[in-house]
Amino acid sequence: MNRFSGALDRLGRAVLAGVEEMGKIILLFVSVLAWMFRPPFKLHNIFKQMEFVGVKSIFVVVLTGTFTGMVMALQGYHGFRMFSAESLVGGTVALGMTRELGPVLTSLMVTARAGSAMAAELGTMRVTEQIDALYVMAANPVKHLIVPRVIAGVLMVPLLTVVSDFTGILGGYFVGVHILGINSGIFIKNITRLVDLNDIYNGLVKAACFGLILSLIGCYKGFNTYGGAEGVGRATTEAVVLASIAILISDYFLTAIMF
């Protein structure tokens, strides 16, 4: 009985802590929105973050996109061959990439690369009192540090998703047509038949949401770091884990709403 209530107690605490954290992240989002539209706009900072989140992630995104498309074609081919529907491979690769794997894999890669860096960078600034220094100079850290990162996340993850979708389909095409010998015309025709613009569009909306999630969580964890270098390490790990989970869970709900 006692052990049972102890476990219940711990569970209750964990749930409360989770809800509290979510509330704080939402409050941060509100203040990001409030500061985003208040001039002066530091375009220089925004472009710097866009370069970091976007341009510097292209390579990993191309790599994951291509190989995901390739492996989907391979897997799809073996499945569809059982009822002689190999021609559907192109369509399924394209559908899978644009609706699901493009946005999710891209945002997970960006989380690992840029979300973690945001947490580490802001965390270091927190423990070395650089954030206090901003306050002292009457400069708001949300405006200076978090707004540019969130804007970069929301804008760049969809753009990277386009890259991922495209290279994924190319990878699928390469495997399907050149290795497995599917007719190239049929491969492409099935893509256009199965995928409509809405699939791509909805995938990009998802990507924007994921970009928001990963940048907001990265910044939140970094901004609230405590406890020296160890704290920075903890914040970084927590940011990646929490953002990845949040992306996968919100993916389900976004999919349920949109498709």
Partner: protein, 248 residues
């Protein structure tokens, strides 16, 4: 004038400030001394609104900053400059950009003016031609000097120094002390300096305040402090392990 009235601040169960009262006079240098971990940095952070007390008042020229919203607090903060214990330079920016930061943030100066002002502030802390360096390329002493240049960039009335000489060699420490004395005199600043270094204390302080167990137990001129019979002050100035200050 900075007036602290009955300040209370705890972290968890640890009471750091316990009914602290302190007046800081305009145009003078007040040095705050006290044991490591005694709450000196915490006290300094209260003066500029980085921490809020549980109870008590912090009056800056008559305005109680504990009750202000962010915007009003920012107006007050423009009177201040602060040198952090580890300088707290923005390490993603060059030295020049660091010193220019408050100018870019709060003035409409042209680029050329900013460049001249930055060079001037750096010169006044004894540095030239370091604008393009990154903070990570500087030594500890240089970082503190850049931090000081940034703190005085906007010509504030009040400058807070958190251990400006700790961790520096004696020559560099002396140079920083000179710098504080000169800037204070030239700009007629109100300076609040935290220090452990007994030699510096008497060199730069017009007034010296001793923080002990969350209260200011002694506050006077250097001469008064030298003549003090308070056992805590005596022990601190002598650097003795015998006395009321417990070593854990």
């Amino acid at each position: 004038m900075i007036k602290l009235v009955d300040l209370h601040k705890s972290f968890g169960r640890q009471k750091v400030l316990d009914g602290l009262d302190l007046d800081i006079e305009d145009g003078k240098t007040t040095v705050i001394i006290g044991r490591s971990g005694g709450g000196k940095s915490v006290l300094l952070k209260h003066m500029i609104g980085l921490l809020r007390p549980e109870r008590g008042q912090i009056l800056i020229d008559g305005t109680d900053i504990t009750k202000l919203n962010d915007q009003a607090l920012n107006e007050i903060r423009k009177k201040f400059g602060m040198l952090f214990q580890e300088a707290a330079l923005f390490d993603s920016m060059t030295v020049g950009e660091n010193v220019a930061f408050p100018l870019r943030e709060h003035t409409r100066m042209k680029e050329k003016e900013i460049r001249e002002t930055v060079a001037d502030r750096l010169r006044s802390v004894g540095l030239t031609g370091v604008e393009e360096k990154m903070p990570s390329e500087l030594s500890g002493g240089m970082r503190k000097r850049v931090g000081l240049a940034r703190a005085i960039a906007m010509r504030p009335q009040i400058v807070l120094f958190d251990e400006p000489t700790t961790g520096l060699d004696p020559v560099m420490a002396e140079a920083i002390n000179r710098l504080i004395i000169d800037t204070q005199k030239n700009l007629n600043l109100t300076c609040v300096v935290i220090s452990h270094d007994v030699r510096s204390i008497f060199e730069i302080g017009h007034r010296i305040a001793m923080l002990y167990e969350g209260k200011i137990i002694e506050n006077g001129t250097p001469e008064e402090l030298r003549a003090s019979q308070n056992p805590v002050t005596l022990q601190f100035l002598a650097g003795s392990i015998e006395g009321p200050i417990r070593i854990m």
